[in-house]
């Protein structure tokens, strides 16, 4: 067992973990944050995507011990105070999700993409999300959602940050 200390969704965490424990399993099984999903064995599907120090990473390909000393944000930590993050709100508005399994990872990948490129073209969105697979939507509305989130954020600043005002969580 190895002791790790890290910040997850603004909370300090300290846990003893097996050296081979994957970050996604640490988040899901130790912390009970189960938004990130495991969808493949080969770092191909992106269902486990989270932010590590603000950059999107596939948490199935990061060891929990590698995240020690760093800051992790999951889909659970994106919204706050009952408000959806603009990217989450755009996914809902544009019907960018169906079964929801890829969704938390897709949203985190989109947040990472927009933080690097706040005004992407459709092609840049598609290329940016190439590592995140969705079997339900045919990607059409996911792309619309990311473009809409970019448009929305351009009104209130270019930084798709953590807690801006947005649509209410309830219907």
């Amino acid at each position: 067992m190895t002791r790790i200390e890290l910040t997850v969704n603004d909370e300090k965490r300290s846990d003893d973990v097996e050296p081979r424990l994957l970050l996604v399993h640490y988040l899901r099984d130790v912390l009970g944050l189960r938004a990130a999903n495991v969808g493949c064995d080969t770092t191909s599907c992106g269902a486990c995507t989270v932010l590590l120090d603000g950059k999107s990473v596939k948490s199935c390909t990061v060891l929990a011990v590698q995240a020690a000393g760093h800051e992790v944000v999951t889909a659970e930590g994106l919204s706050s105070g009952g408000q959806l993050h603009p990217v989450q709100a755009a996914f809902r508005q544009e019907h960018g999700l169906q079964c929801g399994f890829c969704t938390p990872g897709m949203v985190m990948a989109a947040v990472g993409l927009l933080s690097e490129n706040p005004h992407p073209t459709e092609e840049q969105v598609r290329t940016g999300l190439e590592g995140n697979l969705c079997r339900c939507t045919g990607y059409h509305n996911i792309v619309r959602a990311v473009l809409a989130a970019a448009d929305a954020s351009s009104g209130g600043g270019d930084q798709p940050g953590r807690n801006p005002a947005s649509a209410e969580v309830t219907a």
Binding site: R34, D41, C45, A171
Partner: protein, 770 residues
């Protein structure tokens, strides 16, 4: 104003977007405390005799509680083939393989551990000795190596009688074209893999959480496999991360997990890896078609024959039955005077075939739409014109086809013309001609596919398709709906709430939908075959209407008025005496006095037949074969649309999956039956970069079979887009002499086809044609 037909946002979404769905692996329940984890030992060989299974080393490994083999399950009945009357009954499956393995992935043993990582370690220690046998593969397997010795053949059976094919079917046709086409094997690959969590209570009753498309069917199959009464089983359906036809019923692994939980007296859980999912969840399609089409030089199709070989994989499951649906839809939307179809089902050393989005109907459409294009090219007539010439005339009274399908309503020529107009077909053909004339390396292809499909089928002859719903209004102004459908992305929680809201005047966000718990909802047909709205949704509407009628009687007593004098004011969700808004009583008050709940069953006269036309535009690099899908334009007429947001989402998803089959996806085995596409690194599952945004044109021809006027929309996208994309790629290089390329029309295949055509027709064939 009615909420029906409007773009209501999904009430499901906030949860999925924040804390995420609660899928089977996510389920936290005190009944599952201390659950063991199950990891399956799977055959690495396609075809072999099992000579011994030694579990001793595995039992010594850390955390291993037990290792279960086929011998331990000897008490449980074998799984007979689907359609046992037609398919050779000797082709049965054991829950865990005992004497033989028949595909790479066939489960041989199950390792039970305290923690999941321990299972991954321990499966390596189970020593299975295999005596390899020749792998049986392909659509024409010889009987020199038999999967099932007791069957005496690798042919499972026939749909139709090959000896009844008419030798004179094409007599009188000026042109006859024939081609053998492969509708390749693909992986459903839902993002959530299969899983199970099972626990037996002290009273001997099983509770199992299983991702499924219909808990009631899963319960029935689980009961049969375990040999227990169905009443002893409760299936709970957590959120389901996609299914696409492959999560109906109970798979052998689900049954083994439940058996282990009973055997060891502790709850047990299993979540498969993606590797397992790609080799051991059922695959889809896997049909070979020999199409023969005949007609006149001016474009009248007069005769069509479809000869199908269904590769059922190692064990004949639902895939062995799907050719029945392919045959049913043989002539599609066309008026073809003479047509016949038969199917042969074979078994091979590959993953069993099951349902996959469209399940038998995409195969019929792909065969027919390729045949129409082959015929059009042969006679030199525009393929859109050939379609227009042969499509059935509009009908509003049901039309019976020669294959027994009863099409409810259809207006196929309008669908074709709308799609062509939305695509600006003449402009596309003009651009194509210019590129051909210039000898451009980047050639343009335009593919057209018209289709009609069948949705909401009943269980069989004479059984009308039906679904139940329960609606209850609570004293606090909320309502609950119980449905026999089983959403896994379709948005029933929103859609069914819209239907109830429209009748009850209760806001959508105050209505909760429940499904998939067999103790709560003992009956139901689940979600598949694009049946849910037309039957499950219609049942919700009917239940809400019946509830208002019951409430009206109670309101009359309450208000001491005649029911005939009462009106229901939906804006207040209350009854009042006509002309006297003060004399009123709300549903909430009536619910307080006595539970206000109605269960009803909606029954539909028959299946419905959505239709449409897809146009695909691709660019093909004639030097490299590279295919770029540029546009997909579709008309998908599924009758009246309840929520355009959801209907469009269904179309998008279907279009994407259908297009992916056309030019990307294929499950591949080597000559020994080893799967070469057993991870997402190898299986070319479609990503966002490979498809364009889709262009949808609207058309809504109501059905009279349900009050909503709705047909199914879940599978249409995948039925039209596959042949449209395939046809477009072939069209892009047709002027070079290419007549057909099998799916997936990958860069390599396109390049090879161009090269072969150039060798046959000469290097300059293309530029001379235009």
């Amino acid at each position: 104003m009615s909420i029906l037909g409007t773009r209501v946002l999904r009430t499901e979404d906030p949860k999925f977007l924040t804390t995420g769905g609660v899928y089977t692996e996510d389920v936290v329940d005190e009944r599952l405390g201390g659950a063991y984890h199950v990891t399956f030992v799977r055959s690495p060989i396609a075809h072999a005799r099992i000579t011994s299974v030694d579990v001793s080393a595995a039992l010594e490994a850390p955390g291993v509680v037990a290792v279960i083999t086929g011998a331990d399950l000897a008490e449980l009945p074998a799984i007979p083939p689907a359609a046992a009357g037609l398919i050779n009954p000797a082709m049965e499956q054991r829950l865990l393989a005992t004497d033989k393995v028949r595909y790479v992935g066939d489960a041989v043993a199950a390792v039970v551990t305290e923690h999941p990582y321990q299972g991954e370690d321990a499966v390596e220690l189970v020593q299975v000795d295999y005596d390899p046998l020749p792998a049986v593969l392909g659509y024409d397997p010889e009987d020199s190596s038999l999967l099932f010795e007791a069957a005496g053949t690798n042919v499972g059976g026939y749909w139709g009688d090959p000896s009844q094919l008419k030798a004179d079917l094409f007599d009188g046709c000026e042109v006859v074209v024939s081609h053998t086409i492969v509708n390749q094997r693909v992986a459903p690959a839902p993002m959530e893999t299969r899983a199970a969590a099972a626990v037996w209570a002290d009273n001997g009753r099983l509770t199992a959480w299983i991702p499924n498309q219909g808990a009631q069917g899963t319960k029935a199959e689980m009961a049969t496999r375990l040999g227990v009464e169905a009443s002893q089983i409760r299936i709970i359906t957590p959120d389901v991360g996609g299914a696409f036809g492959a999560k109906f019923g109970a798979d052998p692994e689900h049954v083994v997990v439940a058996w282990i939980a009973r055997h060891l007296g502790r709850p047990a859980r299993w979540t498969e890896t993606r590797y397992e999912n790609l080799i051991a969840m059922t695959h889809g399609r896997a049909q070979q078609h020999t199409v023969t089409i005949g007609g006149s030089r001016d474009g009248n199709v007069q005769a069509y024959r479809l000869e199908i070989v269904q590769d059922a994989g190692a064990y004949p499951r639902i895939g062995a039955v799907l050719p029945m649906l392919t045959i049913l839809m043989t002539t599609g939307p066309y008026d073809i005077p003479k047509a016949e179809a038969i199917a042969k089902v074979v078994v091979t050393n590959t993953t069993p075939i099951g349902a996959y989005r469209g399940a038998g109907r995409p195969e019929a459409t792909a065969a027919l739409e390729r045949a129409i294009d082959l015929f059009a090219t042969e006679i030199g007539v525009d393929p859109a014109d050939v379609r227009r010439k042969n499509l059935l005339a509009p009908f509003t009274e049901p039309h019976r086809t020669a294959f027994g399908a009863l099409y409810d309503t259809g207006d196929y020529v309008v669908a074709l013309d709308k799609a062509l107009a939305a695509a600006d077909y003449p402009a596309l053909r003009k651009e194509q001609a210019e590129r051909r004339a210039s000898g451009s390396v980047r050639q343009l292809g335009i593919g057209v596919a018209s289709y009609v499909e069948i949705t909401g089928m009943g269980d069989g002859e004479g059984t009308p398709p039906e679904e139940n719903a329960t609606v209850e209004v609570h004293p606090d102004g909320t309502a609950t709906i119980l449905t026999g459908t089983s959403p896994h992305g379709q948005g029933h929680a929103t859609a069914w709430a819209m239907l109830a809201s429209d009748e009850l005047g209760i806001p959508v966000e105050k209505i909760t939908l429940k499904w998939g718990d067999t103790d709560l909802i003992p009956e139901g047909g689940g979600t598949g075959g694009s049946r849910s709205l037309q039957q499950g949704g219609a049942a919700v509407q009917q239940a809400a209407q019946e509830l208002v009628e019951v409430a009206k009687q109670r309101a009359a007593a309450e208000l001491e008025a005649s029911a005939a004098d009462l009106v229901f004011d939906k804006t207040r969700s209350a009854f009042n005496v006509a002309g006297d808004p003060e004399a009123s009583v709300p549903l909430t008050q009536l619910a307080e006095n006595e539970r206000l709940v109605i269960r009803t069953v909606f029954s539909q006269p028959g299946a419905t037949f959505p239709f449409g036309t897809h146009v695909a535009v691709t660019e093909v690099d004639t030097e490299t074969g590279k295919v770029t899908l540029q546009r997909v334009i579709t008309v998908d007429d599924a009758g009246v649309v309840l929520n355009p947001l959801l209907a469009e989402g269904q179309r998008h998803g279907g279009i994407g999956q259908g297009a992916a089959q056309a030019f990307l996806e294929e499950v591949v085995y080597d000559a020994d039956g080893n799967p070469l596409t057993a991870s997402f690194a190898d299986y070319p599952i479609v990503s966002a970069t490979e498809v364009p945004s889709y262009e949808l044109a609207d058309m809504a021809t109501p059905t009279s079979y349900n009050p909503l006027g709705a047909k199914g929309i879940g599978e249409a996208g995948s039925i039209g887009s596959t042949p449209a994309v395939q046809n477009s790629v072939i069209d892009a290089v047709a002027h070079l002499g290419v007549r057909h390329i099998d799916m997936p029309v990958s860069s390599r295949r396109v390049w090879e086809a161009i090269r072969a055509a150039r060798q046959e027709h000469g290097p300059r064939a293309g530029s001379e044609h235009s």
